[in-house]
Structure formats: structure tokens, C-alpha cells
């Protein structure tokens, strides 16, 4: 039961202290130019990795708005530097935490700090490396885009913000960069801003995220006032001493942030629309990194978790996973399919996190989370690899097919774009959990957790896996097999090296990325102590899980492979339109609901208030009062009749009043 060992979880929490000295399996850091390592301390590396993309973004924004090419090179260079430093930090293995006070009022202070532990190391590698590959890919993909500078500038801002989240050592700092990734995602979705759909999608994404952040910020503030700190290390240190004030509300509120960012139900609506952005953006932000930030954040604050909150989280994740996979079946747009699969995979991760605790629900709260964190982060990593791979693959396809995105207008691309085909196929195999591929291991870990803890969840997740295999194979078959169903597809061509090389690298990672148990495995090198938290099934459980996942994969994939004909229209729609429509509505319902709310409820309410404001407040009361005074004024003016007698009467009146005063009438 190694994965349940206190050490595992303890080391996770105690990770500010170097968990590994020096550089094991030293071979890896031989190719790293050791000058870097000696030149700067690791802290300076960390600061550099944060600032390099910011610098590139600033330079681009200020000077390179018109030099698109130059801007792209600067940005890619920055991303390369990030990746390099990430690897240096990872291999150097030092773990540290520093912070500097940024704002203080009385005894309340907000500080920015860097917490570089195993969790951060893993995430930083994923972000840096995948990000770098995607940058390179974009060089080709966005080559003839007019607003290249803006695009790459946006990418750099995103890298900066994302790395900020990864390195943050307290909740306020996470929130700051949380907002910033939201902004950069808005910027990049809005890249084709002349398209109304893009403008709307970006707006939707930002606002929906704000809704999530509403809870997030409340949670942070509540956590601050309950524990008088929001620093992860301090919180973690309070926990064993029993000083930590637990409240179900805090984790739930914080989870709201994750719901928004990781597009869980009911805030999942923005992610599919976000596909309006350029494909590399979808790959980087809306598949690999940003949407995973929610899970990362949950792992960060795991000490605050309590059982009820975890329960909610688990169910949210499960339902999202299942719902999204259903929605994915009927999509025609290749990116939409991938988007929904992303949703459901994120649901997997969230569910994994939520499952983690329940494994240990015996009062031993401190240990509870470990397995969940392990599984979630594991899946996050592998998913980052293969989903980025598939998005880039789809990007390459779209690029080849002259920006045709409808899978029913593709087909027969296997010969035209062989590299894309192979790499994409690897991605598909990885996501549907073909043994030996990355997805297989991570998904198994999660399924095992589920089986251990909650059969219903287990069933749902397994079913999700079936459907996942089903629609992925559907896409794969319709896209690459058969004959070209449109002249765009028939004239498709393989993309250049700039785009294929990243595909290949990601494909390799999608294969080896999940080998955590072998001594030569890659994941432990990346994740360090996190890797040791992954729940590992033994004996019978191991067998069942293995069988289940194999069965799941074969059933789903086989069904899709047999069922779908490579024709111009959806076979399911022909066979059973009822089911098709049902699934379609399943997807539509949420958008409809939200649109109805925005257009009919919210806007009408605003109009009503505006009407009241204008008519009632501004006009009736104020104007009314003014008019009344005006009338009185006219009346007062009318007293000056010009007749002497009237005036004499006034004098008489005045004298009489004075006389009355003298006679003491008024007192």
C-alpha cells in the first residue's frame, strides 16, 4: 500500500524542502548546459521563467506590432527559454519557496511568492514544454495571419499568467494570475475579432469565468479571515498542528473557481464556444494547460478539503465527464468533438480528485487527499500530452484542408497527410486507453479509485470511457479513412516540419508519458513525489481494472468502427434520428437556458431598472419637485399685482402681524 503511505502525502505537503538531492539518473541533465545551472540560483531561474514571457509580450506590444514575423520569433524564443528553464529546474531538483510583500494595510498583507515543489515542477514542465511545442506549431499554423504579432503577444501573456499560477505560493497570487489567464484566453479566443461568433465566444468565456471567480474570491477571503493566511505552506503547516479552521464552505467556494476555469457543470458552456479561437490556442489553453489549472489549484489547496466538499467535487466531475462525452457524439466540427472530449477528461480529473479523499474517509483527514491528487495530476499530465497532440493534429488537418472543420467534409486524409494521421492515431489510442499508451495508465488509476470508493461513479466513468472510445474512433475514421468528401479534403496536403515535428514529439510523449511504474518511466522523473501517490491496484483488483478498461476500449472503439460509414452525413442521424436529436438537445439545452437567461431575464431586468431609474428617480421625483417649486415661484411672482392698494394691504398685514406679536398673540 505504498500509495497510501503517510510519507507520500507528507512529502507532498512538505515539498518546499528539497525532496531529492542533486540530479538522479544524472544522464538527463548532462545535455543541459551546466553554465545556466551555475550562473543563476534556482530562485533566479524561477523568477526568470516568470518574467521572460512577460518581457516578450511587452516587447511585442510596444515595438513589434507591425513586424509579425519578428514578434513570432521573439515569442517562440521566450517559450523555448521557458521550456529550457523548466527542465533545468526540474533536473536540478532543488525545491524552494520565497515571497515578497506586495501590499499592506495594517495587519493585512498581500504578498507575491514562488513555491517550487514537486507539484509545481510537474505542472511547470507540462506548461513549459507543451507550450513550447505549441508555439513552434503556431509558427507554421499562423504563418500567413495578418495579426500574427497580436497572436504571439497573447500567447506570451498567457505563458506568463499560467506560469504565475503554477509558481504561486498563496491564494491571492493564484487569483491574480487566474484572472490574467482568463484575460489572455479572452484575447486569443477573440483573435478573429471581426467574426461576431468569435467576439461573442470570448465574451462568454470571460464572463462565465468571472462567475466562477465570484465564488473563488469569496472562498479566498473567507479562508483568509478564518485562518489569517492564504499561503499554502502555512496552511499545510497548520493542518498537522490542528490549527487549521475547517469549513465546508471554503473548499466549495474555491471549487467554484475550478468549475469556471476547468469548465465543469454547470459552467461548461464556454469551452466548446472557445473553439472559435485559432487551433493552437485551443490546444494550449483550452486543452493542455489553462483548463487544467482548476485541477492544479484544487491540488494546491488540498489541505483545506473536507469530506462533504470532496463528495460534491466528485459528483460534479463524474457528471461533467459523462455529459460531455454524450455531447461529443453528435458533433460535426472536429474541434468541437475534441473540446467535448476535453470537457469529459477534465471531468475525469476532477472526479479523481474528489474520489481521492473518500478512499480514506476514516477521520484521517490529512492523508485523505493524496491518492486523488496523484491520480488527478497523472491524468492531467498524460491528457496534456495526447490532447495537445490531437488538437495540433486537428489543426494540421484544418490547415491542410484550407480551414475546413467539418469531419463529414473530410475523409481519406490518411494518404495525404501521413504524419498527421499516424500521430493523431497515437493520440486516439492514448485517449481511449490502449494498453501501453499514456492514457491507459492514468485512466486506470482513476477507474481503480472509483471502483474502490463508489460503484456508481465507477459505472458512470466506465460508461464514459466507452463513449469516449466510441466518438474518438468516429472522428478518427471519418477524418482519415475512406475517400475525400470535399475538394478541400481532396486537395489536402501534409503540413511542414514546423508543424509536424511538434506532433511527433507529442506523440512520443503520449506513448511514454504514462509509464510511471517502470524504472525507466518518464512520469516519476517529472512528478517526483507526486508520482508515488498514484493509486496502484494489486492482485484481483488489478486484474478487474485491466479487464474492465480493455473491455471498455474494445466495445466503444469497435462499435464506432463498425457502425460509422465514411459517408457525407452522420450515420447515427440516419439510423436513429430520435437518439441523435436527443443527444443534440442535450448539448443545446444548456446554451438555450443561458441564452434565455441573458436575453430574456437579465437584460429585461436591466431594462426595467433603467426605466424606473429614468422615469421614476430622474423624472418624477427630481423634475417633479423642480416643477412644483417653479409653479410656486410663478405664484409668488403673481403677488406683485402692480396695484397700490394690494401693496397697502400687505403693509397693513405686516403691521397687524407685528402688532399681534407685540400683543403676545404668538406666545
Amino acid at each position: 500500500m505504498r500509495h497510501f503511505s503517510p510519507e507520500g502525502s507528507f512529502r507532498l505537503r512538505a515539498s518546499p524542502f528539497p525532496s531529492r538531492e542533486g540530479c538522479p539518473q544524472g544522464g538527463v541533465c548532462d545535455w543541459v548546459p551546466s553554465v545556466f545551472v551555475r550562473a543563476m540560483t534556482m530562485l533566479q531561474h524561477a523568477i526568470a521563467i516568470l518574467l521572460v514571457p512577460l518581457f516578450s509580450a511587452t516587447v511585442i506590444a510596444l515595438f513589434l506590432r507591425r513586424q509579425g514575423a519578428l514578434a513570432s520569433y521573439v515569442s517562440v524564443a521566450a517559450a523555448g527559454a521557458v521550456a529550457a528553464i523548466a527542465i533545468i529546474l526540474l533536473q536540478h531538483g532543488e525545491r524552494f519557496e520565497r515571497q515578497v510583500e506586495w501590499l499592506r494595510f495594517g495587519d493585512f498583507a498581500i504578498s507575491l511568492g514562488i513555491k517550487y515543489d514537486d507539484l509545481a515542477a510537474l505542472m511547470l514542465f507540462v506548461v513549459g514544454f507543451v507550450g513550447f511545442l505549441i508555439h513552434v506549431f503556431s509558427l507554421g499554423y499562423m504563418h500567413d495571419d495578418a495579426a500574427r504579432a497580436r497572436f504571439f503577444g497573447g500567447l506570451s501573456i498567457f505563458m506568463f499568467s499560467m506560469i504565475g499560477i503554477v509558481l504561486a505560493n498563496n491564494l491571492f497570487m493564484i487569483f491574480i494570475f487566474w484572472e490574467l489567464v482568463g484575460f489572455s484566453s479572452w484575447l486569443l479566443i477573440n483573435h478573429y475579432h471581426h467574426k461576431q461568433s468569435a467576439a461573442d465566444a470570448s465574451k462568454k468565456a470571460f464572463i462565465v469565468n468571472r462567475v466562477g471567480d465570484f465564488g473563488f474570491l469569496l472562498g479566498i477571503i473567507m479562508c483568509y479571515w478564518l485562518n489569517h493566511t492564504v499561503e499554502f505552506t502555512e496552511l499545510a503547516d497548520k493542518a498537522p498542528k490542528g490549527e487549521l479552521v475547517y469549513s465546508t464552505l471554503i473548499p466549495l467556494l474555491l471549487f467554484c473557481g475550478a468549475v469556471g476555469k476547468s469548465a465543469q457543470m454547470p459552467l461548461q458552456v464556454w469551452l466548446p464556444d472557445a473553439m472559435e479561437g485559432p487551433t493552437p490556442v485551443s490546444a494550449l489553453i483550452h486543452a493542455a494547460t489553462m483548463v487544467a489549472a482548476g485541477i492544479y489549484m484544487l491540488c494546491r489547496v488540498n489541505v483545506l478539503m473536507v469530506a462533504d466538499a470532496l463528495n460534491v467535487i466528485m459528483w460534479t466531475g463524474t457528471i461533467t465527464a459523462f455529459y460531455a462525452s454524450l455531447c461529443a457524439i453528435t458533433q460535426r466540427d472536429i474541434k468541437k468533438v475534441l473540446a467535448y472530449s476535453t470537457l469529459s477528461q477534465l471531468g475525469y480529473m476532477v472526479a479523481a480528485f474528489g474520489l481521492g479523499a473518500l478512499a480514506m474517509e476514516n477521520g484521517e483527514h490529512r492523508l485523505a487527499i493524496a491518492t486523488g491528487v496523484g491520480a488527478a495530476m497523472f491524468h492531467l499530465t498524460t491528457h496534456a500530452f495526447f490532447k495537445a497532440l490531437m488538437f495540433l493534429g486537428s489543426g494540421s488537418v484544418i490547415h491542410g484542408c484550407h480551414h475546413e472543420q467539418d469531419i463529414f467534409k473530410m475523409g481519406g486524409l490518411r494518404k495525404k497527410m501521413p504524419i498527421t494521421f499516424i500521430t493523431f492515431s497515437i493520440g486516439v489510442l492514448a485517449i481511449i486507453g490502449m494498453p501501453g499508451f499514456a492514457g491507459f495508465f492514468s485512466k486506470d488509476a482513476i477507474l481503480y479509485l472509483a471502483m474502490e470508493n463508489n460503484k456508481v461513479v465507477f459505472a458512470l466513468l466506465a460508461l464514459t470511457a466507452v463513449i469516449t472510445a466510441f466518438y474518438m474512433v468516429r472522428v478518427w475514421k471519418l477524418t482519415f479513412l475512406g475517400e475525400a468528401r470535399s475538394d478541400d479534403a481532396s486537395h489536402a496536403h501534409e503540413s511542414g516540419f514546423v508543424m509536424t515535428v511538434p506532433l511527433i514529439i507529442l506523440a512520443i510523449l503520449s506513448v511514454v508519458g504514462g509509464t510511471w511504474f517502470l524504472p525507466i518511466g518518464l512520469y516519476p522523473k517529472l512528478a517526483g513525489s507526486i508520482a508515488e501517490l498514484i493509486p496502484e491496484a494489486h492482485g484481483s483488483a488489478h486484474l478487474t481494472i485491466l479487464l474492465v478498461s480493455l473491455a471498455v476500449m474494445t466495445v466503444g472503439a469497435g462499435a464506432a468502427a463498425l457502425f460509422y460509414k465514411t459517408s457525407a452525413n452522420d450515420t447515427l442521424e440516419e439510423k436513429s434520428p430520435g437518439l441523435f436529436r436527443l443527444l443534440g438537445q442535450l448539448k443545446e439545452s444548456f446554451d438555450k437556458l443561458y441564452d434565455y437567461y441573458v436575453a430574456k431575464v437579465q437584460q429585461r431586468f436591466a431594462m426595467l431598472l433603467n426605466f424606473l431609474e429614468r422615469i421614476f428617480l430622474a423624472e418624477t421625483i427630481i423634475q417633479g419637485a423642480a416643477r412644483v417649486v417653479g409653479f410656486i415661484g410663478l405664484g409668488a411672482r403673481a403677488l406683485y399685482t402692480g396695484s397700490l392698494h394690494a401693496y397697502v394691504y400687505w403693509f397693513l398685514l405686516g403691521t397687524a402681524v407685528l402688532w399681534a406679536f407685540a400683543a403676545g398673540v404668538f406666545n
Partner: protein
Amino acid sequence: MIPLLAAATYGLPSYLLLSAVLFAIGFFGVLLRKNTLVIYMCLELMLLASTLALVAFSRFNGTLDGSVFVFFVLTIAAAEVAVGLAIIVALFRQRHTIQVEELNHLKH
């Protein structure tokens, strides 16, 4: 010369009352009459009413100042009359009327 008042029992109050009545009558005239000249007479009447009280007080308080003040009041009244009548005459030249109700062009 024997003070006539030595024998009188109608004292200061009656004089004060009388002057008040005259004052009121004058005021009433100013209210009532429409002929500017008559209004002006009534105003003079009011002044004289005050004068009467003044003399009475002066007499009964045994201070001469009141009576001296009467000289000033009379002179001032005369001067006012002169100016007033001049204005009225000039007005009549312009408007050919001295009826108050027709002199209400300045209003509002």
C-alpha cells in the same frame, strides 16, 4: 397763563386712544380711496395723528422734546407733500389720471 388741563379728567389715555383712532382712520383711508390725492391726504392725517400723541405725551411727561419734535414732523410732512404733489402732477401730465387702479402698469 393757567394750564387748561389742570381741570381736565380726560387724561393721557384718551388722547392716546384718540390719536390711535385717527391713525387707523388715516390708514383705512389709504386702503379705501382710489384718488391718489385723497390717499395722500390720509397719509398726512396719519402723520398728524402721531403728532397728536406726541404732544400729549410731551405734555403729560413734562418733557419738551416731544413738542419740539412736532416742529420737525410738520416740516417734514410739508416737504413730503410738496414733492408728492409734484410727482402726482407730473404723473397726471403723463397718464391723464390719478386714479390708483389705472396706475398698475408695473407688475409681475
